[in-house]
Structure formats: C-alpha cells, structure tokens
C-alpha cells in the first residue's frame, strides 16, 4: 500500500519536474485509488480504515495538484522552498495588467451583448496565452532552474486561470 505523506510526485512514481507524463499519472492514480478504496478495508481494523482514508484523501489532493499545470508549478516551487506570493505580491508587469483590464472589458461587453462567439474567441486567445506561460514554466523549472522567473509565471497564470473560469461561466450562463 502507498505510503502516507510522500511527496505528490513520489506517490505516483513520477519525476519531480513540470513536464508531465499524464498517461502515467492517470494510470497510477487509478491503481492507487483501487488500492486504498474504502471497500477493501470494510473488515479492517478501525486504525487501518482511518489510515486508508487518509491516503485516499492524499491521493485525490495529489492528483488534482499534479494534473493542473498552475498548481503543479506552485507545488514544485513550494518543494524548493519558494513561496509564489500570490496573496502578497501585487507588482505585476504593467502591460500584463493592461491586458487583464482589456480582457475584463471585452468579457463584460460580450456578455452584455450576449455574444457567445466573441466569448469563445476570447477563451481561445486566453488558452493560447496560458500555453505560452506553461512552456515558459517548463523551461524555467526543468531546464534553467530559474525559480524567481517561474514564480512570476505562476502569478500570471493565476490571473489567467481566473479569467478563463469567468469566461467559461459567462458562456454557460448565456447558453442556459
């Protein structure tokens, strides 16, 4: 059975890096899930049952963290002792913030006009932007060990994830 309190990468037998073998992650996730499934511990001692439940919870948390690129990068930095300062560091590059403002305005306008194609177009642009940042993270974390730079990219991705979720919600609202 999997060991409790292992680092997320070790738990899934994956190397500690940003580039992800998602097939391995998914396969190992399913294997671990079945290993620690509560049904298998129905006749076990209360102690063992609790232990399996704790591992099942950790497996789910670890999977969610590694699956999401922003969370994976944040976690990798955390393992290196780097805080991404998403709560405290407000000094983002001005051009990036201007772009955020423009996107927000475009979302508000398109929502007002009930223009779903415009929202979908914007979503595409934003997904592309996220891809570019993820590529930067891959280079900064796996090749250059540029932790400061990676931290800044995580902060940018935090904005982009939020905008993305807001657009998706706006589209769902209009489609209803």
């Amino acid at each position: 059975m999997a060991e409790f309190n292992q680092n997320h990468f070790a738990l899934f037998g994956l190397p500690e890096q940003f580039a992800l073998d998602s097939t391995s992650l998914d396969q190992n996730y399913r294997r671990l899930q079945s290993e620690v499934h509560p049904d298998r511990f129905a006749s076990a001692s209360p102690h063992e049952r609790l232990h399996s439940l704790q591992i099942a919870t950790q497996v789910n948390d670890a999977y969610a963290t590694l699956k999401n690129p922003t969370a994976r990068a944040r976690y990798l930095l955390q393992l290196q002792g780097v805080d991404t300062q998403e709560e405290s560091n407000t000094a983002m590059p001005a051009d990036f913030l201007m772009l955020q403002m423009e996107w927000r305005e475009a979302i508000a306008e398109a929502s007002e006009a009930e223009d779903i194609p415009a929202l979908e177009h914007l979503l595409k642009t934003i997904r592309l932007e996220a891809k570019v940042l993820q590529e930067q993270l891959h280079i900064a974390l796996d090749e250059n060990k540029a932790l400061h730079e990676a931290s800044a990219a995580v902060r940018k991705l935090a904005f982009i994830d939020k905008v993305r979720a807001d657009i998706e919600q706006a589209i769902i609202k209009l489609e209803d």
Binding site: N89, Q100, M101, R155, A158
Partner: protein, 139 residues
C-alpha cells in the same frame, strides 16, 4: 457574504471612476493586481505644483471590496501631499470599510496602488520628497 454599508455605498456609487492621460507629467499611474483573486486596479493621481494631490481616478476589476477600497482611496488622496499619501495604510482602508479578514487583501491592493502611483509620478518628475522644496527655493 454580507458587505458593510460603506462597501455597498462605494460599490453602488463609486467615486472618481475614470482615467487621466498617463503620459501627462503631472499624472502618476499605479497599476497593481492580486494573483490570488485576479483583481486588477489602476489608480491615477494628478499632482499640482505644490506637490499636493488635487485629483484622483481609478478603474478596478474585481469584487465589491476591491472596488470600494479604490473608490475610498481616491477620496482620501485628494488634498494630501505625496508624503501624507504615502502614510495611508491598508489598515485605515480596511477599518473605514469594515472589511472582513478574507477581504483584507483588497485594502492591501489599494495601498500598493497608491505607492505605485506615487512612485510613477516621482520617477517621471525625478523628484525626491525632500529634494523638492530645495529645488523650489533654488528656482
């Protein structure tokens, strides 16, 4: 979550929404953003020859508390010298608006925006806080 009356008032009737020409030499622009919540704030100050902020404008994308914090700040800034403005702390903003702990970061964002706007103005005018009077009396 319940907003305080003051937050609601600023949120529903935001003061000083808009912008100045960022290129003008008497204007300082501060752009800040909070990654954790995705809020973006642009705060601008217009400074007169005596070094006093005569006008302030803002544009904020974010929750009610972020909008209220920036709206309140534009009111607080008017009539203050740059040094006095530098003394505005997020705790003043949070207290005034009765922000709950989870919304304190909105007031931090507003404080950072003030600092960024002042820094921008000063760097544009190459004017140190203390150096200013010396320059003026020498002129």
């Amino acid at each position: 979550m319940a907003y305080s009356d003051k937050v609601l008032d600023h949120y529903e009737n935001p003061r000083n929404v808009g912008s100045f020409q960022a290129e003008d030499s008497d204007v300082g622009t501060g752009m800040v953003g909070a990654p954790a919540c995705g809020d973006v704030m642009k705060l601008q100050i217009k400074v007169n020859e005596a070094g006093v902020i005569e006008d302030a404008k803002f544009k904020t994308y974010g929750c009610g508390s972020a909008i209220a914090s920036s709206s309140l700040v534009t009111e607080m800034l008017k009539g203050k010298t740059l040094d006095q403005a530098m003394d505005i702390k997020n705790t003043h903003i949070a207290e005034e608006l009765a922000l709950p702990p989870v919304k304190i970061h909105c007031s931090v964002l507003a404080e950072d925006a003030i600092r960024a706007a002042i820094t921008d103005y000063r760097s544009k005018n190459l004017m140190e806080a203390e150096g200013y009077n010396a320059c003026k009396s020498a002129a």
